[in-house]
Assembly symmetry: C2
């Protein structure tokens, strides 16, 4: 039963599923491995030269302030920038005191779990869903409900039924280019989801790390705009600037943000302030829309190339829905078991991806699914990796 | 009873005492206020010029890696640096896999609470203790026990009694230059504390943010060296380099660190990786011992100057024990109520400090105590502030 210390571990710490991605990243750090496994942004677009300028400017002009302790809420100027972004892009009014800066959106998830989830509270998840959200919210020992995800969002009839029958306290959703499925909610479904959650007084945790990685230019209304009172909207600089800074945010009603701020203060006082100021300086002095345009054009090309390769090398039994944004392509492997496929690809070909099952709450679900990342890699590596997976798929059929 | 959303707040979130320091910091941001309230390092010693070099070097040589997602455990080279520091300074063997990099030691506190504390577990605190620890651990809904602190550490007889009678699961202690009292455990007491905690199998959470701010040169053995199995030792770069980077660490047995790592992954994936690499570059290229020497010499002079001013301006009824390190001077105000004194000083003189009561778990305790910070301020401001407090003290007697 482990050491004396291990016997002291809390129940909450024992219910957390191990992260499959964490395990697989140990394999993928080797340079001869072709990895479609991680959710890594392409480092070619990290604004290294601009950061050289911003770090110098911040240290020169305000080093003493930027390196000191700061307020838990986050830098007021950065919060104002985020508020202006929502106003400009969506015509959505967000006040700075409705924003809390967090250490990545993962921390926002954790703080929301801390604030709202009691043991055995029912939490409703998309099926499949982001495995980091399952892992994070598991700490607060909820029970789960699920609602199936279609290409244009959740199954509305199923959502209505689960809300009425199971009375979940909270729903977690990624409406834009979902991880892992790539699904993006249509405008009609957004309105319906907002209506159903509002009628049933279900808190919505709207996670939006991928919304800017939009291949079509279509505008997707934030659910917070449609269901303001009950929605907590999470955003992140990880996919549009750089993840190593661990900076994200959460938007909510000001009394909720005030309470989340107290919890954040107890958790880590505040997020890295030097990086907040350096990021703000970067955002002020560089055209972020243009930068996002470059990232998105590249990811779109990579995504299209991966689909070309799949069409060339994969058997017809393997299907997918073409993503309209984001970083992931979600495969339906039909009769093939994803874990068995991964084992062969990893051991024989040094090609890795994430099998579907970690993205499901129910055991045994998703064994016929696989997630491929297309943002981080070259055309050559994508072709080589897809052709090798394709050969294994043909052999296994 | 608040809004619909407020009624959904978890019980754990309601037991967190508001931070007095947080409230007072709003007042002290005004430049005409003389503040002895914060626990702020002196920004004159932030290595701004060295950071200009380190940020450029990291961005130039390894920008793509430093700005990408990284491992939850923290940078391996930074962990090795910390391990070598303990070996060199204390002859204490620490392996890198016994170290987890955290977002300040506040996060280490939070993760330890998550890992070990179930509702109603007994947690033993020094009396008085760091209010951020009370705030943080309150999230996990423990019951409290206390043991009185003397100038050379906890009352040993009281510790033995409370360990046997109350059987606490964990003790939280700051053995070096404690916040708020300035107390520093003697070597003899360290051995006794280690023996008692070991005999009673009480987990020790040893917080050491101030150990390097040592005015006497005396070596203070870490309790982890004396009670390795049961001690989790927290350290921080906030007081010796810069707090705005939010980088600290925790040392523990490897099975505990492994589990804390899973909890940290669920909480924020990893700490700011760019800042980890920039800090490591700084530590490699600059003589940190010399830097700490400069900080310590300055704080010692400020501390001595504050004492001179106190002797000159305060009535004899107000007493304190001269600190041998750290950042705080702890006053015993005798018959004077600290909150009443603060009200006058703040409103009439624009001079602020922290009254004693937030550092106590028991309501009404510490009303005759006050904490003065001496690290951040000039000689002139110290003299002006102390003379103004002195005048109020004389008036109130």
């Amino acid at each position: 039963m482990g050491t004396w210390l291990e016997q002291q571990f809390s129940k909450r710490s024992q219910g957390i599923p191990p992260s499959f991605i964490r395990e697989i990243l140990k394999v993928t750090s080797s340079p001869d491995v072709i990895s479609f496994a991680g959710g890594l942004p392409n480092p070619a677009f990290f604004p290294i030269e601009a950061f050289k300028v911003s770090t110098q400017r911040v240290l020169e002009i305000e080093g003493k302030k930027a390196l000191q302790y700061s307020v838990t809420e986050g830098d007021p100027d950065l919060r104002a920038w985020i508020a202006a972004y929502y106003q400009q892009k969506f015509g959505m009014e967000v006040k700075p005191d409705e924003i809390l800066i967090t250490s990545g959106s993962q921390q926002a998830l954790d703080l929301v779990g801390k604030l709202f989830i009691e043991q055995d509270d029912k939490v409703l998840m998309e099926k499949p869903t982001y495995l980091g959200a399952i892992q994070c919210l598991s700490q607060y020992q909820p029970t789960w409900a699920e609602v199936a995800l279609e290409a244009d969002g959740v199954d509305i009839a199923a959502l209505e039924q689960v809300c009425v029958q199971d009375k979940p306290k909270m729903m977690y959703a990624i409406p834009n280019y979902q991880n892992p499925s790539g699904a993006c909610y249509g405008e009609e479904k957004r309105a319906q989801v907002a209506r159903i959650l509002n009628e049933n007084k279900v808190i919505l945790l709207e996670d939006d790390p991928y919304g800017e990685l939009n291949f079509t230019g279509a505008l997707h209304t934030p659910l917070r705009k449609l269901y303001k009172e009950g929605t907590l909207l999470m955003g992140s600089f990880s996919k549009i600037v750089a993840p190593g800074l661990r900076l994200g945010w959460i938007v909510g009603e000001k009394e909720v943000i005030a309470k989340l701020t107290i919890l954040k203060q107890a958790s880590d006082l505040h997020s890295n302030y030097f990086s907040q100021r350096m990021l703000l300086d970067y955002l002020i002095h560089n055209p972020i829309t243009e930068h996002i345009g470059k990232i998105t054009a590249h990811y779109k090309a990579q995504c299209e190339w991966m689909q070309e390769c799949i069409q060339k090398y994969f058997p017809k039994e393997v299907t997918y829905i073409a993503p309209e944004g984001g970083m992931f392509l979600w495969l339906d492997l039909g009769k093939i078991n994803a874990r068995a496929l991964l084992k062969q690809c990893m051991e024989e070909d040094k090609v890795v991806f994430v099998p579907g099952d970690p993205f499901y709450i129910t055991a045994e679900a998703g064994m016929d699914k696989a997630r491929l990342n297309f943002s981080n890699g070259t055309k050559e590596k994508i072709q080589e990796g897809i052709s090798k997976i394709g050969k294994r798929l043909h052999d296994m059929l």
